[in-house]
Structures are given as C-alpha cells and as structure tokens.
C-alpha cells in the first residue's frame, strides 16, 4: 500500500472541499427609472381633467412629449458618472415612460442631472435615429433645424371665458433645460428601480408665472416665451428611489 500517495489524494480532496466558488461582486449596476406625472398632486388625465396654473389659467392636457438626454450621476466623493443616450418620452403611452440607465458603478450617489431636450451636438437635423417618433419631433430646418425638446398641448379657458388652445413647443439648443436634482441613494447591485415625477404645473410657475393670455398660447419661435418655459422646466422633476 502506498500510504504517501493515498495521503496526497485525501489532501487534495480536503483542499478542494474547502474551496467555495468565488463570488464576484458586481461593480456596475443599472437603474430602471419610471416616469410619473401629476399636476400639483392631481393625476394626469388626457383631455378630461381641468387643472389650474399659477397664473390662474384653467387648462387641460392632451399631449406631452419630450426628450431626456445627457444623464449624469454625481457620487458623494465628487465623481461624475455620465450616461449616454437620448430617450423619447410620451406621457400618454405607458411603454414610453421607462428609461434604463446602464453601466453605473455601484456606490452612493447624491445628485442626478440631465437635459429635457438635447445638447448642441445632438440637436441637429437627422441626428437621432430615423424613427417616426423622432421625425414627428423634428424642428424644421427653415426654423433652425434639430428637434422639439417638448410638446405640451391642450386647451384652456381664455380671458374671455372662451375655450382656446395652447401649445408649448420648446426647441433650439439654448432652450435645453438642464435639470439638477437631489438623488441620494445607494446603488448596490444589478437592477434597481427609481422614479422621476414631473409636476406639470411647474412648467408654468417658477421663476416665471406663465399666463397663456399674456405670455402667449403658442410659443414656438417666440424666443422670450420659450426662454420663460425653459427656465421653469428646471424644477419640474423630482427623483425618488
């Protein structure tokens, strides 16, 4: 009997039994963000609901489409995580209200920032993939080209108590809305969820109370009116995880 050899075999067996599969901790995760809406706490309903903005206009909403882009997460150590991508959102189409932010390093985060709209490189005619959605958001070349950043449309009761329409169409690179909001959370592993909630009344509130009767019910190509709406857009979203 070859005892040393048997001992070696046992030794290996014992050593192997001590081995556990090495757990590889994920270093990156993703954040699935659902986008939700309210109007000062009231649910968003197409056409039927009547809301009131800061200027006192009573209004309804029947279209809300926009682009989100250039997401950045700021870590509490000061590190900045950029996430590439442009997302088309239609508030009234459920499948168009989730976005997935991929390849995010795990860790603690403090702040989320992004554009409602596009940056100067993206806001060029035919820059985005040639889909019907993107084509319908095109900002015509004779008006400068690029894309609508926002289409918010509906009806309101005007100063003469007559039902009228409004169309808040935002475009031109200088009117891209840079949103920067608190987003304190710990991303631990692969698939996590969060929400962005838009209070639509904020488009008409701060810092520029917007009155359809005096500021205009149709703002496309009206630079002063677009600038007001763009400034208000900074505070329309809140983040929650």
């Amino acid at each position: 009997m070859n005892y040393p050899r048997i001992g070696l075999v046992f030794g290996f067996a014992i050593a192997l039994s001590q081995c556990k599969p090495v757990e590889i901790m994920p270093t990156q995760g993703s954040l699935n963000v659902s986008i939700q809406y309210n109007v000062d706490g009231n649910p968003l309903l197409s056409d039927s609901s009547i809301y009131q903005n800061a200027a006192g206009n009573r209004y309804s909403i029947n279209r809300l489409e926009y682009f989100l882009s250039n997401f950045e997460l700021l870590k509490n150590d000061g590190k900045r995580i950029k996430i590439k991508g442009v997302w088309y959102v239609d508030a009234f189409v459920s499948s168009k209200n989730t976005i997935k932010l991929d390849s995010i390093p795990v860790g603690n985060y403090d702040t989320l920032s992004f554009y409602i709209g596009l940056d100067s490189a993206q806001n060029q005619t035919n820059f985005l993939p040639n889909t019907q959605e993107n084509q319908n958001m095109a900002w015509p070349t004779p008006m400068g080209g690029g894309y609508h950043f926002l289409k918010l449309e509906g009806y309101y009761t005007d100063i003469n108590a007559v039902k009228s329409g409004y169309a808040m169409h935002l475009g031109k690179t200088k009117n891209a809305v840079r949103v920067k909001i608190p987003a304190q959370f710990l991303l631990t592993y692969t698939n996590e969820t969060a929400s962005l909630t838009m209070n639509i009344n904020e488009w008409f509130r701060n810092p520029n109370p917007f009155n359809f009767d005096t500021d205009g019910q149709y703002i496309m190509s009206v630079d002063s009116a677009m600038a007001k709406i763009a400034a208000n857009g900074v505070s329309v979203f809140k983040f929650k995880k």
Partner: protein, 334 residues
Amino acid sequence: MRGWIIATAIGLCACNPTSQEPIKQATPYPLVIPPHFPEMKVSPTNPLTVEGVAIGRMLYYDTLLSKGGPMQGMSCSSCHFQNQGFTIPTNGTPVLHHANLGWSSNFLWNGKISGTMEDIMRFEVNEFFAANPTHLKTRPKYLELSKTAFGTTEITNEIAAKALAQFFRTMISGNSKFDKFLRKETIFTQDEIMGFNLFFSEKGDCFHCHSMPLMSDYAFHNIGLDTTFIGAGRGRYLVTGETSDMGLFRTASLRNVALRKSFMHDGRFKNLNDVIEFYNSGIQSSSTVDPIMYKTGGIRQLNLSAIEKNALLKFLETLTDTSFLNNPALSNPF
C-alpha cells in the same frame, strides 16, 4: 440478376419520398426604403417574399376578390388608380390614397381599424370585399404562388390579407422632386423654396401634422372645418365614443396631393387653392379643434399673400412622384 438489380433500383426510387416535387423556397423580397424614410415595421410572421407580394399585387387588381359580395365587380384598383397616386380620379367623396401605408398604424379616415397592415387587410378582405376564397381558387396562379409563399396550395382569406399586406408595404412613394431636393439631387425654383419655407415654418405651420418625410403624422386632428358635427363628420368619435374625438380625422399624407380632385374627409374642396385658402382664412373654432390651430389671440389666420399662396401650391406640386405613378411593379399584372 442484372434485371433484378435494375428493377430494385427503380422500386427504391419510386418509394423515395423525396421524389415528390419539393416545396420551393419563397424568395425574400428586396424592399428598398428611401434612405431618408424611417424604418418600416414588418410583421415577423409575414415577411415580404417575391411570391407573396405577387399574390397581393394580383389581388389588388382582381375583381374575384369581391365576387358574390356587396362590392361585386370591384377590386382595390377600381377606386385606387395608380396614375392618380392610387386614389380616385373624380371629385366626389375622396378615397384615401394608397402610398406609404406601411408606416401607419391607423387606417381609414376615422381610424376605424388600428394595428398592423395585416389587421387593415383582414378588414378589407373579410368585411369590405367579403371575399370568398372559393372564387379565388379558380385562378390557378394563386394556388401556385401560395404554395411557395405560404407553404400551402390553399388560398384563404387570411392568406389573401397577408399577401395584400405585403404588396401594400411595397407601395412606397419617396422619389418626388421634394425627395430629390432633400437628397440634394435637384434644386427648387424660387417659388418652391418660398413654399417649402412657408410649409416648414410658423407662417404656414403645415409641418406639425404633415411631418417629414411621410408628410403625415398618421394621427388624428380636428383642423377646424366645422363648428358642429353630424353623421360621418363626427370622425374619430364614431370609433371611440369620446367627445374629445368629435370631428377628428386621420391626417392624410400629402404625397402626390397635386393629383387629387377632392380634399378633406368629405371632399368639400375641389382644388388645392381652396384648401390653402381654408387654412389661410377659413378655420373655424369648436371645442375639439386642435390646440395647434390656435395662435395667440385666438384661432389662427395665416394672412398669406397671393404670392405666398401660390408658392405653397408650387411646393405641394413637388410632392408628385412620377416614378411611383409609373412603377411597373405596382401596375396591373393582368
């Protein structure tokens, strides 16, 4: 001995199941999408094949489709003439033209049918024409092509609908002067340029509904034709029952619009000058008129000059696509 071997060989050949005529593989159809057009969504269960498209093309022109039904004696081509951009050459009730429908998911003026091209073709075959496959089977070519295209020697209403859907997806109009202008293959006249700029600016504001390059958003709008709505004029409301849909109709594409003899869902306008004048000065307010038909101060008036109106007309004429009107692949195969 030798004779036995030969006899056995013949017997084996006869028993070989592969000696039956093999089913020919369908040939993928080389669909060419203009480079400036969006991607077309094609059902994975109904990919385009040369043979499937051929059946669809035949059906489009074949009165057997309606034999025995309420539309007896008619085919699609009875109202959709290729040289008119696949619409009717008269000035009665307008017939929606057939071009670029492969990009739409809403069909008919009020969107009675929504979904895929197969869905609208099922409606056309089963309800509009009330097709009876027994009559279609009398044309051997359908059975022959169906064997290759769909793997069966049957021609059913479902196969007819799928084949028509395939053919409709090939009905692409994307080579007009306007398209060539976009591709920088030609230049516009001064009038056409002025019209283009009016169309795609706030002055004319046509582009929100007639968006490039399909010249339709295929969505529903009340453009302010009426203040009250009765009968078919109730539009989308007849489908949804929603009061907010009263008077809404699907945006018609402007492709080949200059060839049409009547305009709007009820054919009330008989020429493009009248249409332009309507948008210029005739929009009427109602509770459902589209929000973008308003400008600050109320319902919009374009206040176009005669020169501007003429320029718009000239631009619209650039949407005529003669290669589409004369495309032999879309013509009557009989």
